[in-house]
């Protein structure tokens, strides 16, 4: 069995609102898979169904071979979850939170402490393990939650917006841990995010989700290449002359930008022409489209943080918890 998660027309309605609309998704074993979409797109709702917190309205899914409706307890044992909102007891120490989790997930007593030390080392929190969680920084809390999600040897780790609300530096730190994790623990990681650079940087494959439907699914680079929207940007001594030679080019900040299909291949030819015509190339650079451009292309909208019309706020409310 190659697919560790397989959904079959999985759907969730909240009253007349369709939060997840007949999604069919296959996630391979060992993959770092991203669900990218704006707030309220249905990412958390989908994740909640896969982790048996919510029951689907129709359709079903198999997680680690177990049906989420028929075998919820088996599913729960197979997965680790890091929720979007913090879910630590901050009056307990980091280690106590982990001990509690180990007991709740029936990790055999004789391996508990060893396993706790392992995951603490993984997130580099061994020194702080015996301090109360309320003294932790935001990034440390996230890391201890990630560690907690790993204690019971899950086959799949769900991360719901793992870097939401973290400062940029901490965010990069958490990314680093997630990457290491995927390598060292050899588990499947499914994360939701509305940060396109997060999906781009971390994920092997990304599903772009909007209004409860998956509108694109591929590797980040294939998604971006599908746009055929690279640019070659030149900073020239004589940009007036360039206007005649590259009539379709756009001009900005004294530079010219040329739209091409594949910038890496075509830049050589462009530079040849510029040299022949003696335009005096000072700088040349390539700009690849971001996943945001992909989303923009597919939906006509941007993935922004505050997309909070009523409909989406409703979804967040129901889907988030």
């Amino acid at each position: 069995m190659n697919n560790v998660i397989e959904t079959k027309n999985i759907t969730k309605n909240f009253d007349e609102l369709v939060a997840v609309n007949s999604v069919n998704l296959k996630i391979k074993r060992g993959e770092l898979f991203g669900l990218l979409g704006p707030n309220g797109a249905g990412k958390t709702t989908l994740l909640s169904m896969l982790s048996t917190i919510l029951k689907p309205t129709s359709g079903t899914a198999k997680v680690n071979g177990y049906d989420i409706i028929k075998k919820p307890n088996e599913v729960r044992k197979s997965i680790g979850i890091v929720f979007q909102d913090p879910s630590l007891d901050d009056r307990l120490t980091g280690r106590e939170n982990l001990q509690m989790h180990a007991a709740l997930y029936k990790v055999p007593k004789n391996v508990r402490e060893k396993r706790i030390d392992e995951v603490l080392e993984l997130v580099e929190l061994k020194d702080k393990a015996n301090s109360l969680v309320r003294t932790y920084s935001g990034g440390m809390k996230r890391r201890i939650e990630i560690a907690r999600g790993l204690i019971h040897y899950p086959r799949i780790l769900f991360l719901d917006e793992p870097t939401l609300g973290l400062d940029p530096q901490t965010r990069e730190h958490v990314w680093e841990y997630i990457k290491q994790l995927a390598k060292r623990e050899k588990i499947t990681i499914v994360l939701t995010t509305h940060y396109m650079e997060e999906a781009d940087l971390l994920c092997d494959r990304v599903a772009i989700i909007d209004y409860g439907k998956i509108i694109a699914l591929n590797t980040p680079s294939n998604l971006k290449n599908s746009l055929e929207g690279d640019s070659v940007i030149l900073n020239l001594k004589d940009s007036e002359k360039a206007k005649k030679i590259f009539p379709k080019a756009k001009y900005f900040d004294g530079k010219i930008s040329l739209s091409v299909k594949n910038a890496e291949k075509e830049i050589a030819g462009i530079l040849d022409i510029a040299k022949k015509k003696k335009l005096g190339v000072l700088e040349a650079s390539i700009r690849k489209p971001s996943l945001n451009d992909v989303f923009l292309h597919l939906t006509g909208r941007e993935i922004r943080e505050e997309v909070a019309d009523n409909r989406e706020r409703m979804r967040r409310r129901f889907g988030g918890h």
């Binding site: 982790s51 048996t52 917190i53 307890n73 088996e74 729960r76 044992k77 979850i81 929720f83 909102d85 913090p86 879910s87 630590l88 007891d89 901050d90 009056r91 307990l92 106590e96 001990q99 509690m100 989790h101 007991a103 709740l104 997930y105 029936k106 007593k109 907690r148 918890h321």
Partner: protein, 251 residues
């Protein structure tokens, strides 16, 4: 649903650990009973007639113990809403264990902390001159456990029905305080006019107080011991079942 002992233990342990860590809370929750005992006890001593051969402190001590049990238990049970508010409840509910195990662990944990409070009050009253026989102490402790379990479960039930943390104060004002004042904790219920007696007799706290008082004073109570004990047992059993049900049903 199965009961996982390991999970019950860890949930119990959490309650107890948190209790001992919240030093301010222990002091705060003791302040009120001590206040009652010292101020109320000494000034009311001459105005309340509790019978010929028993002094007011001896009469009051079981009432104050019951008060500590009531406050600590309800607080502990209702604190489920704080767990929900701060997200920790989710961590427990998603775990592959039955909710029954969680609710049992919580009830036992809450009852443990309440009984510790009760024992502290008992020691305090001994220091203030109230006499407890060794026999009565041996009986009082399991009785305290029984009473506390009922109140913790009542708290869990309320918390499971409540939507927001804001309702917390409301519960304290409209449930806990009347339960305390209408019980015979501070006065002898047989001295009351009949209209009040109805409220006193429907207050579950009354039976807890009277059962404790019967044991601690060696037979002084307005209600026969077998009646108050039976009531306490039935009340605890029923609220435990309702509490477990409400907690399990809650999404």
């Amino acid at each position: 649903m199965d009961i996982e002992l390991d999970a019950v233990y860890i949930v119990w342990l959490r309650e107890v650990k948190k209790y001992f860590r919240a030093k301010e809370r222990i002091l705060g929750s003791l302040a009120m009973p001590i206040f009652w005992f010292l101020i109320f006890g000494s000034s009311m001593r001459f105005t309340v007639n509790v019978g010929s051969n028993i002094d007011y402190s001896t009469f009051l001590a079981p009432g104050i113990i019951a008060m500590a049990l009531l406050f600590t238990s309800i607080f502990s049970g209702v604190s489920v809403i704080w767990d929900r508010e701060f997200g920790f409840l989710k961590e427990m509910l998603v775990a592959p264990i039955s909710r029954l195990s969680i609710v049992i662990g919580r009830s036992l944990g809450g009852a443990t902390t309440a009984v510790i409070q009760g024992i502290i009050i008992m020691i305090l009253s001994i220091l203030l001159g109230v006499k407890f026989s060794l026999f009565s102490i041996v009986i009082l402790i399991p009785l305290m456990v029984l009473i506390s379990l009922g109140f913790v479960s009542l708290g869990i039930t309320i918390a499971s029905l409540m939507e927001t943390v804001e309702g917390f104060q409301l519960i304290m004002n409209f449930i806990v305080m009347p339960m305390f004042f209408l019980s015979g904790a501070l006065f002898q219920i047989s001295n009351l006019p009949n209209i009040f007696k109805i409220f006193v007799y429907i207050d579950p706290m009354t039976y807890g107080v009277e059962a404790l008082r019967y044991i601690s004073t060696g037979g002084f109570s307005s209600i026969p011991f077998y009646v108050s004990l039976s009531f306490v047992v039935v009340f605890s059993a029923v609220t435990s079942i309702i509490g477990a049900y409400a907690f399990s049903r809650r999404k």
